[in-house]
């Protein structure tokens, strides 16, 4: 692809702007960054508006904005499950997370594993929760880089640079990542919170332009939907004894909604808000992003109607990135250069925000629930904060290794597994907010059986699909493996809790801490 100087200039300028903001953010609502809750939770000082931007930038990641339309582009109606998924996220957030916020605020918990440790008095269960969070998040960070890689390639920036006779593969990606790592290290959660505002502004501008300009060029929405294969415009009908794709669609939506809120970056974003009321308000106002996501999903169909797949100028892009190249190709085809710069910057900056928050969330987990619990029990708060900063660098290096050292398909498969794994923390974290009748040993056994069963189900498709067909008394029900394995987990946790004697470890929390 030929480099486009105008688009590249605008892209680089916007990137430079957010880099400056990222470093400057250390001074914003100034706190002593030598404390973990200041570095890793922004001092719990973000009000309703900042939380709205932060969570919006956090939950709706760049990869989502590339992969969801790519799925629509390739598979049709199935890809639209992202919409019911985001519809279901907010009632869950509203019902559950104010309780977690309250108890975390009262006891100074920084991670979900902190809460589990206090509630059940079991360091081992807390370790399982923390480790699951870290392992599930790493490939997710890697996928943000994939989102960034796609737009950098779309701009026609060469990926390999030769400096002094040494050729550097993936140089632009490495540079972007080094910058991200540096300001996250420096400013902690304040950096992505501030950058999220720019990211969201760019994103809304891009979405608005896309849903107005593109249909006008493609003969209206009627013309766009006419370009979709009639067989994939809706889900295939259910057959006798097998609801087929329809049950897959519903369970994917529900399972993804449950998993999303358990990811460490969601918890970090929610706990950083300044009040319980801010969390509740955000459950009501965050769906504005869902609308943007729904419209972005339709970009996949717009790309079909625009015929980007067969255009010779995009052949190299599709060869390198598959359907993930659909949206960048669409933008390149319909927008003028300067606007391509803005739209691509929206995606790339949209990758920086969640990547920063995810690495901070992993760093918090490592520091609080592994380092302080098992390595240096009496570490002073200053050391705690510097360990977290270093951990955020290590996590990013790990993610970078995924993207550069391994085929992209590994990161995608691991992220798919990550969803199945993270959902297994639901009984301890979410049910734990309501009851401590579940025994920690039972919860651990349930967690292990859920992970084993879910991984096994995904393995049956060679880790290509997270849908596994259950045979329920003669009815075949294709189901999202995360959801079916979660049910097993809950059943094991509940049954063993009935058998085991009461948990004698003390509960650090009181009933009124949750209100």
């Amino acid at each position: 692809m030929r480099p486009d100087p105008v688009a590249i200039a605008i892209f680089v300028a916007l990137f430079a702007l957010v880099t400056l903001m990222g470093f400057g953010a250390a001074r914003w609502r100034r706190g002593d960054l030598d404390h973990l809750h200041e570095w890793g939770l922004g001092g719990r000082r973000f009000g309703t508006v900042v939380t709205w931007f932060l969570l919006g930038g956090d939950l709706y990641t760049a990869y989502t904005f590339v992969a969801v339309p790519a799925l629509m582009f390739g598979a049709g109606a199935m890809g639209f499950f992202a919409v019911p998924y985001t519809v279901l996220v907010y009632p869950l957030l509203f019902a559950v997370f104010p309780r977690l916020w309250s108890v975390a605020h009262k006891h100074g918990y920084v991670t979900a594993a902190d809460f589990v440790r206090g509630r059940f008095g079991s360091p081992l269960l807390a370790l399982a929760i923390a480790a699951t969070g870290i392992v599930a998040t790493m490939p997710y960070i890697a996928l943000q880089l994939v989102g960034m890689e796609v737009v950098i390639a779309g701009l026609g920036i060469p990926m390999t640079f030769a400096i002094g006779g040494i050729s550097l593969p993936d140089a632009p990606l490495l540079a972007a990542f080094a910058v991200l790592a540096a300001y996250t290290y420096n400013s902690g959660l304040r950096a992505p919170a501030m950058i999220a505002v720019v990211k969201d502004a760019l994103l809304y501008i891009t979405v608005l332009a896309a849903v107005i300009v593109i249909p006008a060029k493609l003969g209206g929405y009627g013309g766009i939907f006419a370009g979709v294969d009639a067989n994939s415009l809706i889900l295939p009908p259910a057959r006798a004894g097998n609801p087929g794709v329809q049950s897959a669609y519903a369970t994917l939506a529900l399972g993804s909604a449950l998993a999303l809120l358990l990811y460490p970056h969601s918890v970090t974003g929610l706990l950083s808000s300044s009040s319980r009321e801010a969390v509740r308000r955000n459950a009501v106002f965050l769906p504005a992003y869902s609308l943007a996501l729904g419209l972005i999903a339709l970009l996949g169909y717009m790309a079909l109607a625009a015929g980007v797949k067969t255009a010779p100028e995009f052949a190299a892009g599709f060869a390198a990135f598959g359907n993930n190249f659909a949206v960048p190709a669409l933008f390149l085809k319909v927008f003028p250069s300067w606007f391509v710069g803005i739209a691509f910057a929206a995606i790339a900056i949209g990758a920086l925000v969640p990547a920063a928050i995810m690495s901070i969330a992993c760093a918090n987990l490592f520091t609080r629930n592994i380092y302080r619990e098992y390595i240096d029990r009496n570490c002073p708060h200053r050391r705690e904060s510097s360990v977290a900063r270093l951990a955020s660098l290590v996590v990013k290096l790990g993610a970078l290794f995924f993207v550069i050292g391994l085929p992209t398909s590994y990161a995608i498969q691991l992220q798919l597994l990550g969803g199945i794994w993270i959902i297994q923390t639901l009984p301890a974290v979410v049910l734990g907010l309501y009851t401590r009748r579940l025994h920690p040993a039972a919860l651990l056994t349930g967690w292990a059986s859920g992970i084993a069963a879910g991984t096994w189900m995904a393995a049956q498709s060679g880790f290509k699909s997270s849908i596994y067909a259950l045979d329920l008394f003669g009815t075949v029900v294709p189901c999202y493996a995360a959801l079916s394995s979660l049910l097993l987990n809950i059943a094991v946790s509940a049954a063993l809790s009935l058998v085991l004697a009461r948990n004698r470890a003390p509960d650090a929390t009181l009933a009124e801490d949750y209100a």
Partner: protein, 71 residues
């Protein structure tokens, strides 16, 4: 002193939170093309419509909880 809202209001609000689950998980209810709106099949506009509907259904529970004083 402000009076806490009656218990039934909080309960009704909590029940409304379940409505989006029933609507979205019952896929056969919306897996069709007609009626189209501006050329957009039912399957798509109906699910998009549920985004603002879902937010609206949170409001009663939101307001009930707000006056309860627990914030």
């Amino acid at each position: 002193m402000e009076k806490p809202p009656p218990k039934w209001r909080a309960r009704a609000g909590a029940l409304l939170l379940l409505v989006p689950f029933a609507a979205m998980l019952w896929v056969p209810s919306y897996n069709r093309i007609a009626p189209e709106v501006f050329g957009v099949p039912f399957f798509y506009w109906y699910q998009l419509l549920w985004i603002p509907l879902g937010a609206a259904l949170l409001l009663p529970a939101f307001l009930a909880g707000k006056r309860g004083g627990s914030g």
